[in-house]
Amino acid sequence: MARPDSAPRSRSRFAMALRRFRANPMAMIGLAILLALVAVAVFGPMWWVYGYAEITPDLSQAPSWAHPLGTDTLGRDMLAMAMRGLQQSLLIAGTVALIASLIGTVLGVISGYIGGLVDASIMRLVDLVLTIPTIALAAFLGNAMSDSGVSWLGLSLVLGALFWTSVARLVRGVSLSLREMPFIKAAKVMGAGPVRIMARHMIPNVADHIIVSTALLVGVAILSETGLSFLGFGVRPPDTSLGLLISNAQTAVLTRPWLFYAPGILIILIVLSINYVGEGLRDAFNPKAAPTNPLVAHRTRAKAGTAVPATRPDAVVDITDFRVTFPNVERPAVDGITLHIARGEVLALVGESGSGKSLTSLAIAGLLPVGAEASGGVRINGEDVTGLGFAQWRRYRGRRIATILQDPSTSLNPVLTIGAQFHETMAVAGPISRTESRRRATELMALMAIRDPESRLDQYPHQMSGGIRQRVVIAMAMIHKPELIIADEPTTALDVTVQAQVLDSLRIAREQTGAAMLFITHDLALVAGVADRVAVMREGRIVEQKPVRDLFAAPEHDYTKRLLSLAPRLDQVASKGAFPRAGEPLLRLEGLSRHFLRPRSKTLSASDRVIHALCDVSFDLMPGETLGIVGESGSGKTTLLNTVLGLLAPSAGRVIFAGEDLAAPKARLKASGDMSVVFQDPYASLDPRMTVRELLAEPAQIHGGRAVAERARRVLDQVRLPASALDRFPHEFSGGQRQRIAIARALMLEPRLVVLDEPVSALDVSIQRDIMALLGELKRELGVAYLLVAHDIAVVAELSDRIGVMYGGQMLELGDTAQVIGAPVHPYTKVLLDAVPVPDPVAERARRDRGRVASWPTPSDPLPACTVSGLHT
């Protein structure tokens, strides 16, 4: 196979797992012992002089050269019996594990993939088997099967039939989460049937879990089999088993200990080695990032070295020549940065992923990850904080430095009420009564414009929206009037209209406490309205550091200029000509609706249970046209897309593609050759077990294309990837390259419509731009139509001929791009446009002084009720 020059050898995930397994000493020792025991069990009896049933004249002998493990009261050689027992135990346990994992895999995959009633009945069956103590039923069935005791196969069958549940539960769990993976959805959209999806995508991806659980099952099965034999219901004389040997030696522990210890130690050795091998396999297949433990303070190593002098003793934070390196990584993650934050100042730290901005903020809070090696000076108020222990850090954390994390849905404790979390935070400064903490928490939440703060205190985090949760977090940051607030991407996980409110809350928090702020973000546009000073980071270094107006007005470094040029400017959208709309539409939606039902509950009436995820949406999409759908989370844009793609059945209305109603039998399969999809997350939308060649070939295999290899090379060329990519696995590519592969796969069958589901939102800003440019070029070259769905109106505006604005499942406004952006009609479109940050400090601050546009929906002007009833479905 022609492989270009020095590209590193491509490794499948399996090969990588094997390498990790070999690097695990405990697992390798376990494997060696296990293999040795298996070898003894298989070859030992052939080679050993005595048979296991043979009676020698040496009665009750202690271990000697002639009988290494001694003999029993009848004169039988213990080594021969132990080897026979080992053989029996391994044979039975291995068979049990195979039978159980076979049944478990099949039922688990079916249950997880098909779901619904099938899943419910299989899971009830599992529950049922799980209520039965294995030994009892196995003993009864084994005993009842035949008078002379049960054969090894019979015993294996009975045990296997009782042990499959653990595998089935595991496989079902994995399958359930796999089913929601974009790569499975992509296969469905391609037109793959359930059998193909289960065999080609599900089973290969649960295989590692099955291997691990089968290995561990062998251990469990050995313990059960020996237990049964011990009780007299497993292997019976004249044959022997390790359990039987122990049973016979019960009363001889003191007089003839060799008879008791040898089989016991053999069992322990087998099970122990199997368990180490199993755990080793699990770790090798699912390498997890080393878990963090924030309770262990990170102590900077270079404490003994010369103390770095403070350069700015008056600053709140003063970082000098700070470096963070990780073992086995050549480039330092943070490479000698010098930074200070003055009292009351807002410093924005801007950079893409991997720039080292988060590590810098973690260092200020004393939470560098385990294994990181840091050097240089970090001073807070002139005090050196490198090398502080956990207790010493508590003088700073919470009281003098407050932190706001990125994701408000995970930063609050799910099992404590908001009030309890406020209380414990306040108690950091000293004991405080419940009434007092409630009073202060209510005040703070009212400041954050949270409605009805008193009752919110008794709620749990999951009962609130993301925006409110983040405002609760900000309110907690204000408690001790800190000198510094660290805000680490505080709005990245939020919708754009919510982002505006949270930024307002942050401003209030800062004004009320007079704190300085370190604002960390990847979005340069956000910085314009927030920061006093900006530091731009790239690959561990600060490339430029300036007051905000100077930075936007006169960027010096090339990287800053590039970032600025990449920031989309909605206020500068070039007015495009209207797309010529004549003839037959490629895709037509007629009154498309989709409802979901909330779980039954006493407090909900029947009609309140209906969620109108998609309500009466209609539009036409012409061949070659791009329609962009924009909406926030919960707007129904994803439901719209899934309904068009056939992943969800509509509750009402029709999807008509190329003149055919897709509800008609076979129409969907036919259409799937002309319709393809690119999902948001390029890490999840490509099956990790397939090479690029296999990934690209899959649509052609389903629809029977010819000259597949030729075509694959051609689409790779179209997405600007080299043909050498064909034999590599997805994990060998960067995020941007993976998205190109996903686009290439979408183009394989020369589709007429490509559905783009947030195609760039998971990518870094600079890569976003490349992918957007690629999509634009492909559209011009190939004349495909795009149905684009995104939360970012700037992305939508750039690619689309027309824009649809969705909220609460309804299409509120639909028009030409220039009209929607330039002269929006619906109040919500205005809100949405107004919330987009402008990358210009002067314009952004002027807009803030002007005030935001009136929000929508309001109690007086609500979202109109959905006219399509969902009750009959």
Binding site: D127, L130, T131, I132, P133, T134, A136, L137, A139, F140, N143, A144, M145, D147, G219, L223, G227, F230, L231, F233, I246, S247, Q250, V253, F260, G264, I267, I268, V271, L272, N275, Y276, P291, N293, P294, L295, A365, L367, A391, R394, R397, G398, T403, L405, T410, S411, L412, N413, P414, V415, L416, E424, T425, V428, Y460, H462, V473, H480, S601, K602
Partner: protein, 328 residues
């Protein structure tokens, strides 16, 4: 909350009904309780066998037999035994108490030990304490329970012999004759419990402690623990409220799922220590192919498991507000 319990209860009853039917059918199909009688030499007259068949209801089709059995069970009658003159219910009832004593003690102790050991191992991950706990857990998981039980029993005998006094009880669940007064009776029972409980606890505690370790390691690296640290909370508060509480959810499931295994373990432990518990009853019934007796045993076990799962659901709801508010 009450509605939740009610729903679970109905669900549990349904599972019990189906599972007893399936097991009943299996047990009925698996073998002939009269096989031994038929094979007897010299042959037993056909009329005797027919009478025995009628007494045990073997001449009826299985669904009818199940219904008869079920209606009997509801009235507290577990059906005729192969052994004439044996009332299954009366024989089993005191034994259930004996076994439950062992199993509940073992569950409580094993859960507490697992919580402590797992949490310590996780908090000191990859340090000495963790290596010690994890290695012992691995060895304990690999120990066959019967081997450990025999070893403990012999160890007890050695200790008694050396001290020349009965320090550890190695036989039976209670002294014969049992003490009359309350306090000595309790002490006597507790004394007999020591060794079997250790045998049963060790193995399960070990595997549960592994789950607890994983849960705490995961909990430790979660965002809300990081946020709690950044809010300046004390180490005790963080470990108690933010690390441990969410980590209780997985262990509840694991313990509930393991109850049948514990019952199996109890059978072995009781056999070794010669208790008059459910274990001995089961083994004897199996050897006799006494279908109704085995069914009665399985029914008791299944009820225990279902009840315990119900308890786990309730504990769940207490630990996790998301379950309590029906959005998990």
């Amino acid at each position: 909350m009450l509605a939740l319990i009610g729903r679970r209860l109905v669900n549990s009853l349904a599972i019990l009904l189906v599972s007893t039917f399936v097991v009943f059918t299996l047990v009925a199909l698996a073998g002939d309780p009269l096989g031994e009688l038929r094979d007897r030499q010299p042959p037993v007259p056909d009329s005797v066998i027919a009478a025995e068949e009628a007494r045990l209801g073997l001449d009826q089709p299985i669904p009818v037999r199940y219904l008869t059995w079920l209606s009997g069970v509801v009235r507290g009658d577990f059906g005729p035994s192969v052994k004439p003159n044996q009332n299954i219910g009366a024989e089993l009832a005191p034994r259930v108490g004996v076994t439950l004593r062992l199993v509940t003690t073992a569950i409580v102790i094993a859960t507490i030990l697992a919580l402590i050991a797992g949490t310590i191992a996780a908090l000191y991950r990859n340090r000495i304490a963790d290596h010690l706990i994890s290695t012992s857990a691995f060895i304990l998981i690999a120990l066959p329970s019967f081997w450990l039980a025999v070893l403990l029993k012999q160890g007890g005998i050695v200790v008694n012999r050396m001290a020349n006094a009965r320090i550890l009880f190695t036989v039976g669940d209670i002294s014969v004759p049992a003490p009359k007064e309350f306090l000595p009776l309790m002490l006597d029972m507790a004394g007999h419990l020591i060794l079997p409980t250790i045998a049963l606890t060790m193995i399960h505690f070990a595997s549960w402690s592994r789950y607890q370790r994983t849960a705490v390691v995961e909990s430790l690296s979660s965002d809300h623990v990081r946020f709690a640290v950044l809010r300046g909370l004390s180490r005790n508060r963080i470990v108690g409220a933010h690390v441990m509480r969410p980590a209780l959810i997985p262990i509840v499931t694991v313990v509930a799922l393991d109850l049948p295994a514990l019952l199996s373990g109890a059978v072995i432990t009781e056999t070794v220590f010669q208790w008059r518990g459910m274990g001995g009853f089961l083994l004897e019934s199996i050897a006799n192919r006494d279908a109704n007796a085995v069914m009665a045993w399985l029914l008791v076990a299944a009820v225990a498991v279902v009840m315990f799962n119900l308890l786990a659901d309730i504990v769940y709801a207490f630990v996790d507000p998301r379950v309590r508010y029906g959005q998990a």
